[in-house]
Amino acid sequence: RYEPLLSEKNSHEVSVNTPLPDDLTRDSLELPDLSEPELARHYTRLSQMNYGIETGPFPLGSCTMKYNPKFAEDVAAIPDAGVHPDRKDRTLQGVLGVYGTLQEHLAKIGGMDAVTLQPPAGAAGELTGVLIAQAYHEGDDRTEIIIPDSAHGTNFASAAMAGFDVVELPSGEDGRVDLDALEAAISEDTALLMLTNPNTLGLFERDIVEISEMVHDVGGLLYYDGANLNALLGRARPGDMGFDIMHYNVHKTFATPHGGGGPGAGPVGVREDLTEYLPTPHIRGSDDGYERYEPAETIGKIHGFGGNWLVLLRAAAYIRRLGDEGLLDASAKSVLNANYLADQVDLEIPFGPFHHEFVASADDQDAADAAKRMLDYGVHPPTTKWPEIVDEALMTEPTEVENKRTLDQLAAAFNAVASEDDETLEAAPQRTAAQRIDQVGAARSPRLSWQALDKE
């Protein structure tokens, strides 16, 4: 299967003539020029070369690829949702009402006291949290953020973007936070400890209360990375564990579509005494309905406007659809599915008991090659080679949306690949739209536009 570039189909250079003086305008513009039927086929064919959650299982560990309910798309398409943010509050009660309610719902789910919806993605949520911690510590000389070695890469990057030094915390032998290592790392310089719980191995940090006390004892704050929140819905809340700040990944936990990489949304919850640091504007109820206001000690802006509204709207609809019982069931079934799948897979899984995800080891196979070979069995492979604490890691999260038959099919793919030789794996995939792609070559001589291809 091959679809030419738009520019290869028909490109057209038009002269630019406007009422502006010539020196302010370009002479011409050259872009693809195709009719609607041609475009419809172009993008339809391209879509057919792409794997989505309705194509088959998508067990990417740490990514929580859930089915995205169709009705949420209809909710996002309600004409009244398409408004400009610079309206006066009183003319915007619909949008602000959704914000207000979603803030409340997320606060309840996370055990937090206030939630901002402004961060447009999880990493932006992390930066928001880090900036809140920075503002909270203002005047103190706290320069360090502690992050476990198994944490998501964004934690490190977000800490660095705010100017902090990152202190990496080695995992304990059981895959969890090693309290001794934490003791050694922690100090009066500690601004924040960032944790995922369950962690990226799917393990619950059993010592979370002790960890929380240790961090708080030195005056630091505790941050919860919400990437794995799906495992805990309705069963445990970061706020109850001592976390002071957390972000939610609504495109993971609350079934808003990943959209090929985005948009997502990364709301941030805080405990009560951090509320005044939230980004501006924050939304609150008032006598006249909902209103936007600037929190007294706000960290300022994290997004030019109010964040990824249409993503938040989908999440709001999803949460209302599920309610308490649905959320509780989501965590139950996501953990059941992970445990069932793990049971069916003939690979070593060094750490447990895991929850919504597990990390198997491809053992003497290359995990990335094994993943490519899984493509030939018609399924999406797990996340590979990470976290590094497991050799040749296959980090697997089926989520609650898969049924037993699909999990069996996935297990069969895992097991079939496990018994194959390296040569077969290295030659994979064979049954996909494209065969193995040369990623090293792509990076060595980058060609990032059709203009670059034309130059060749």
Partner: protein, 444 residues
């Protein structure tokens, strides 16, 4: 409904399937699989009641119906253009909408190619060598531009210069990005809605890392000194970052030709329409800064059979590999919005895009004249060329007028005591006459 009605409607387990699975893993119930210490277990209720799909849709329609019906003449960084039906229908195909980041390119060629085409369109529009495949919005793109500038600039320095007339949210985000990179943000003066180049010349120095200017500006003014600003920046080894958008860039002089090193802006002027500020951060820069670009890049490659393919590339810049030494923390981006923008741009084609942009110039002039005809109202305030929007001065309190116009069903910006800002595109132009009549009434 039916069997799946208890719990999540999106968990497919039938009772017998569930039992078989529980048996296989050797527990009585799912709760037994959780390894949560009792003291942090949550046994309470969240208090969110489940609703049927029909109920949620009705409720959401009702809640959103609380927004007043306004014809919005609003812009200032967030714009409404007509989005062709094609965009919705193609972008909603689940293969695009529900796919993940393209870490397995062999089964993600479709989305990768669209992003490659998106990057290519931005390369044509900006005249710069490389564009990434999205940032969150214009404001975060500006923040990323500043940190890129601090990384690539050869001499040391800490000042970032921005125009005094700038959307506050953009400045706010920039300041948060700048702080962490030990940069300080300072404004330079404007004169009659455009850059006061003399003043800028006085302000700039060798400690300036980056100069930012916009065209069109937040007030819709087409900047006429871009060349001069570019030279000024260049003469101090500062980067010149230009803010614009793809519609405007289809007719304005190529940023590369006026010395821009980075182009940022709101690319959701294509493909999205008004969405309470949700956007699409455009980011293009010079090829020699390639390895300092924030966000994802799609590159062409070949597969085993020698056929051209596409893949995410240069990922060693990114957080999931480089962690705290990454060019940015961005991971989840706005890929699907970029896909929408690409389809919209393709749907317009070069003629359609140029026509849309030309209308944004001609229509704005015409509407400003109409507004100027209203007694006691002067428009445009700035004697400049405008794009999409302009500022009007009145004898009245702008706040009061904004409120009265809202009551009459129109949204405008009150940007100062006596200044209103008015934005017109093809989506609200049919209401212009009625709006001007109403403006006349409320200013009498």
């Amino acid at each position: 409904m039916g069997t799946h009605d208890t719990g999540s409607p999106y968990a497919p387990h039938t009772p017998s399937e569930r039992n078989a699975m529980l048996d296989a893993v050797g527990v009585e119930q799912e709760a037994d699989l959780f390894d949560i210490p009792a003291d942090v277990r949550f046994d309470g209720e969240l208090g969110i009641s489940a609703r049927s799909e029909q109920q949620v849709r009705a409720e959401m329609r009702e809640v959103l119906g609380e927004n007043d019906d306004l014809v919005e003449f609003l812009g200032r960084g967030h714009y409404d253009h007509y989005v062709p039906s094609l965009v919705d229908h193609l972008a909603d195909r689940q293969e695009f909408l529900t796919s993940y980041t393209q870490y397995q390119p062999e089964i993600a060629q479709g989305f990768l190619q669209v992003l490659f085409e998106y990057q290519s369109m931005l390369v044509e529009l900006s005249g710069l060598g490389v564009a990434n495949c999205s940032l969150y919005d214009a404001a975060t793109a500006l923040g990323e531009a500043a940190t890129l500038a601090s990384r690539v600039r050869e001499t040391s320095g800490a000042r970032v210069l921005i125009p005094e007339q700038l959307r506050a949210g953009k400045q706010g985000v920039l300041e948060n990005y700048a702080d962490g990179a030990d940069l300080t943000v300072e404004t330079y003066p404007m004169a009659d809605g455009a850059v006061d180049t003399a003043a800028l010349s006085d302000t700039i120095g060798d400690d300036v890392v980056m100069v930012y200017a916009e065209s069109p500006t937040v007030r819709g003014v087409i900047e006429n000194s871009l060349n001069e600003i570019g030279s000024l920046a260049d003469s101090h080894d500062a980067l010149f970052c230009l803010g614009s958008d793809p519609v405007a860039l289809s007719v304005l002089e190529k940023p590369a030709a006026v010395g821009a090193d980075v182009v940022i802006g709101e690319a959701a002027t294509l493909g999205l329409g008004t969405a309470y500020g949700m956007g699409l951060g455009m980011f293009a820069t010079r090829e020699d800064f390639l390895r300092q670009v924030p966000g994802r890049l799609v590159g062409a490659s070949e597969d085993e059979s020698g056929r051209r393919t596409y893949t995410l590339t240069l990922q060693t810049r990114e957080q999931h590999i480089r962690r705290e030494r990454a060019t940015s923390n961005i991971c989840t981006n706005q890929a699907w919005v970029a896909l929408r923008a690409a389809i919209h741009a393709a749907s317009l084609g070069p003629e359609g895009l140029v026509e849309t942009a030309t209308d944004c110039i001609e229509r704005t002039t015409a509407v400003a004249e109409q507004v100027d005809d209203v007694a006691g109202v002067t428009a445009p305030v700035h004697e400049r060329h405008h794009f999409r929007e302009f500022v009007a001065r009145t004898d009245h309190s702008a706040d009061t007028l904004e409120s009265e116009l809202a009551d009459a069903g129109f949204g405008v910006h009150a940007i100062d005591d006596n200044l209103l800002q008015i934005c017109v595109t093809e989506t609200n132009e049919s209401a212009v006459d009625e709006f001007v009549d109403t403006l006349q009434e409320v200013t009498q």
